[in-house]
């Protein structure tokens, strides 16, 4: 079926378990993704939710091929990228981008903001990068003067906006956002989420939003995948996940969220 950005079938990925490596021979493998299948239609905002060790970040990194799966297939706009090598991926790279969890570690501390945003543009042979950098800063609501600053001179929320500006500067079709608000204060959290909502609408982006926290993604996402120990336990429209969750784990997650309300029954 066309109209799909991603078609993922029976995706499996494992890491060597160095903690249990014998003195001689190879370390045993831990299966982190245990045969995942799902589609991402164009224009969808997909939430991927799970606890630590659920494999959600590994899934994200496999989708944009920072990791190579063991088996299964990943199709990006019809092209099989499951085992594509770097040269083959390079032309595709401008079409899927990523925003990282920790903006302090994902922004090179020795580069100015302008250079950080311009890097991907230059690499992809875009002319007139400085105009594009300023445009990207405008779009994420940062003053243009920030182009001359270093990441450590910005607040957490501002840094995360720089991460967003870098990702959208290339006008990709798909963006993966990995826990991008979990390190932020509630006030910046709300701002970043609102900004993302706006950008999705304006640029017609397809977005996958990875989070450990169900409560932040209700308004943003149209569909939610819930992961538990490397498997998808629920894949449903947002309203259904919140109002009539099917999986026990989803229910457990929902009930564990402490609402800012002393009357919530939190049994």
């Amino acid at each position: 079926m066309s109209g799909m950005i991603y078609e993922i079938r029976d995706l499996r990925l494992s890491f060597p378990d160095m903690a249990h490596k014998p003195v001689f021979g190879a370390a045993p493998q831990i299966e982190v993704l245990k045969g995942l299948s799902f589609d991402v239609p164009k224009g969808e905002v997909l939430g991927i939710v799970g606890g630590s060790g659920s494999g959600k970040s590994t899934l994200g990194r496999a989708m944009i091929r920072l990791l190579e799966p063991d088996s299964g297939t990943i199709r990006f706009e019809g092209t099989d990228i499951t085992h594509a090598d770097e040269p083959a991926l390079r032309p595709l790279r401008r079409r899927f981008q990523m925003i990282f969890q920790d903006p302090m570690s994902s922004l090179n501390p020795r580069r100015r903001v302008g250079g950080i945003i311009a890097g991907p543009l230059r690499l992809q042979g875009v002319q007139d990068t400085s105009a594009k950098v300023l445009e990207a800063l405008d779009m994420v609501g940062l003053p243009r003067s920030f182009a001359a600053r270093y990441p450590h001179e910005l607040s957490g929320g501002q840094r995360q906006r720089v991460g967003i500006a870098r990702a959208i500067a290339l006008r990709p079709d798909f963006i993966l956002a990995d826990e991008i608000v979990s390190g932020l204060d509630v006030s910046s959290q709300a701002q970043v989420l609102n900004l993302l909502e706006e950008l999705v609408r304006e640029l017609g982006l397809t977005l996958a939003f990875i989070s450990h926290d169900l409560s932040v993604i209700r308004r943003l996402c149209s569909r939610i995948i819930v992961m538990y120990r490397g498997e998808i336990v629920e894949n449903a429209p947002t309203a259904q996940v919140f109002d009539a969750p099917q999986a026990d784990y989803t229910r457990e997650l929902l009930q564990a969220i402490p609402l800012p309300d002393p009357d919530q029954i939190w049994a």
Partner: protein, 283 residues
Amino acid sequence: MRDARSRVRRPIGLRLWLSGGWITLLIIGAVLAPLIAPHDPLYQDLFAGRMPPVWVDGADPNFLLGTDSLGRDVLSRILYGARLALTVALVAGTLTCLIGATLGLIAGYYRGWVDMVISRLVDIWMAFPPVLFAILLIAVLGTGLTSIIIAIVVIDWTRFARVVRAEAMTQGTMDYVASAQVVGRTKAGTMFAEILPNVLPTIVALLTLEMGIAVIVEAILSFVNLSISTDAPTWGGMIAEGRTSVHQAWWVLVFPLITLFLTVLSFSQLGEGLKDYFDPVLR
């Protein structure tokens, strides 16, 4: 949001001024030695032997820091000795740094079999006792400036390789490296454009430290008479000579020793100071 941290600025270090000042002074002295040295460092005057420095009774005002047992001017010899010491420091330091840092960077960032080969090589290398290794090398290569430099490079590249490898490994796990990959930067491109600038302050600190070490190694080799020709002025040679007459003429030993001490200290402090100064991130 108010962020108190961003408003605190560290003052520029006093140690950067002091250490940088001493090294600059020494460089000027070494370069201009033929013009400013009051005497020929090789000229012997046995009648003017063991003259004390000017502020001690019985001194000759022509010899500011006194003379050695052969009547050679201590100040002039220190100045000429600085030429050799600094040449060794700069050339040996830089070469060691280039070779060691490059191998360390590649091993730490590329990992895999490249890392295996380089790391094993470093391990094997470090099993040799360095001083014996140096003496052995000089014995094979013969004395002379080039031999000293080669000996230092051959022995000390492992220091750079180890430290830079560890640092490159840490930086390699940072998300900004993954983000460079996401936008399609090549592996080598990422190493130079992303990793190298972050490892550079460490390299600078190591480089100046290495220069200090090179000065010491040169002094040790001169001390055991394995440096350049015997009568050419070297700090190590002067110290060796001064040692034999320390009770009659302490100044022959003490002044080159102080110069050596200050130089080595300054190099190491300069490195730490530069590292902080060029670091845009206040840690």
